[in-house]
Symmetry: C2
Subunit: 221 residues, 2 copies
DNA sequence: CATAGAAAAATTGGATCCAATATTCAATCC
DNA sequence: GGATTGAATATTGGATCCAATTTTTCTATG
């Protein structure tokens, strides 16, 4: 037999597709906070009935990306500044630990991949891609911690504030500063200094949080 | 107008009820790991159609309490020993921090409530209630951290391993040891020593994890 | 008797239909 | 004119029906 086998166990259901599309739209900010999501409208866009849409919405709600009220429908969840601060606090805690656990497992290939993301981040001029590359950089290092549950929580908490983080990168001096901090984190990883990498990651997340909340305090209301 | 108004905004939907019932059954161990959940059967039990059941199952899956495969149905999720270890590691990290943040906010009333749970735990002889009281003790202290997102993550990770924790309390020397550790944590809280309370909480969670995984290694296959 | 394959039953995913609730808007009253 | 009421419309939650897939049962065959 000379052909590539494809794992057909788990093909995507309609609900999967709708869920992933909406999730992406929300974390990228394509759907604005407070925007309401009508089942029928979404169903038409995906050429399906409301049933898979309802399942997708239910999943999004469990992850805190939308809020729903009975018979009133779903809206893209917004976070207060206090809630955003809390999630950054949480991220700082988890991501520092994940980074610490990752360092001993980092191999040359992974470090090179992270280096490429780090450089690409510095060179990128399109604001729409900053958020994506930033996330790819961190994730590439985090994955070496080999802790699926931890990584799932990192992903979930990132999802909640990604929109705002993208705004921070776009509208503040976030990009050059993040670039410098990435450089320092990567250097610590290359040295194999887990504690330093963890501390720098913690500060990096808290810095971004501080910068973002300062920005929001100026521009909200 | 002279009557008490009742907030009717958010009455429970059928899906809510099914979800909460199944969640409880799973974390208490009433539904065993690997047990399969048929939509029609559950629907009949709740006198409803399969639609709300499907929504409940979808939510449970998002929280990792069940696993589903397309056209094959849902089964209660089981965790490997490695996965259990990881979740205990995660809990130790979060709960220590939550405890640290809670200590400065603990008032006399909260400490008294925790004291009552602590005593009740020591006195309780019914194994089925150990898990519940243990959780109530910790939660009563954690809540003072005033961090809804952190508390949500604590709850979610506890849900994932509660069944096993209950087994550990029941089948090992977990109860007297947990009792002593609760006493020490509570004493640190009463003293207002946040760092100590955090460290003891961390050790308490890791101890329970060690004890549980040792138990499982002996009894699984 | 074991087994491969087909038919039947069971189960899930999705579409359509109905009921409950919310929203809009015109008609009415002051 | 502005507030209030009630009908019309829109929207969500749930029930029922159909299609896709899996699992079980049955049967023929060696």
């Amino acid at each position: 037999m000379k052909f590539a086998a494809v794992d057909v166990r788990q093909t995507a259901s309609a609900a999967d597709i709708v869920y992933e599309s909406l999730r992406k739209a929300i974390i990228e900010g394509a759907l604005a906070e407070g925007e309401s999501l009508r089942q029928e409208e979404i169903a038409k866009m995906f050429n399906t009935s409301r049933i898979p849409v309802r399942e997708a919405l239910s999943r999004l709600e469990q992850h805190g990306l939308i809020t729903t009220r009975r018979y009133k429908g779903a809206v893209v969840a917004g976070l207060s500044i206090g809630e955003i601060e809390e999630i950054f606090e949480f991220r700082a805690l988890i991501e520092a630990e994940v980074m610490r656990l990752a360092v001993p497992n980092l191999d040359r290939e992974t470090l090179e991949r992270a280096r490429r993301y780090c450089d690409a981040f510095d060179r990128e001029t399109d604001p729409h891609r900053w958020g994506e590359i930033n996330r790819a950089f961190h994730t590439s290092l985090y994955e070496a911690c080999r802790r699926p549950y931890h990584l799932q929580q990192v992903r979930a908490s990132l999802d909640r504030i990604d929109r705002y983080l993208r705004a921070q990168l776009t509208f503040t001096d976030g990009v050059p500063r993040a670039g410098r901090e990435h450089e320092a984190i990567l250097a610590a990883c290359e040295k194999g200094d887990a504690d330093l990498a963890a501390r720098l990651t913690r500060d990096h997340v808290l810095d971004a949080g501080k910068s973002l909340t300062a920005f929001l305090r100026q521009h909200r209301r």
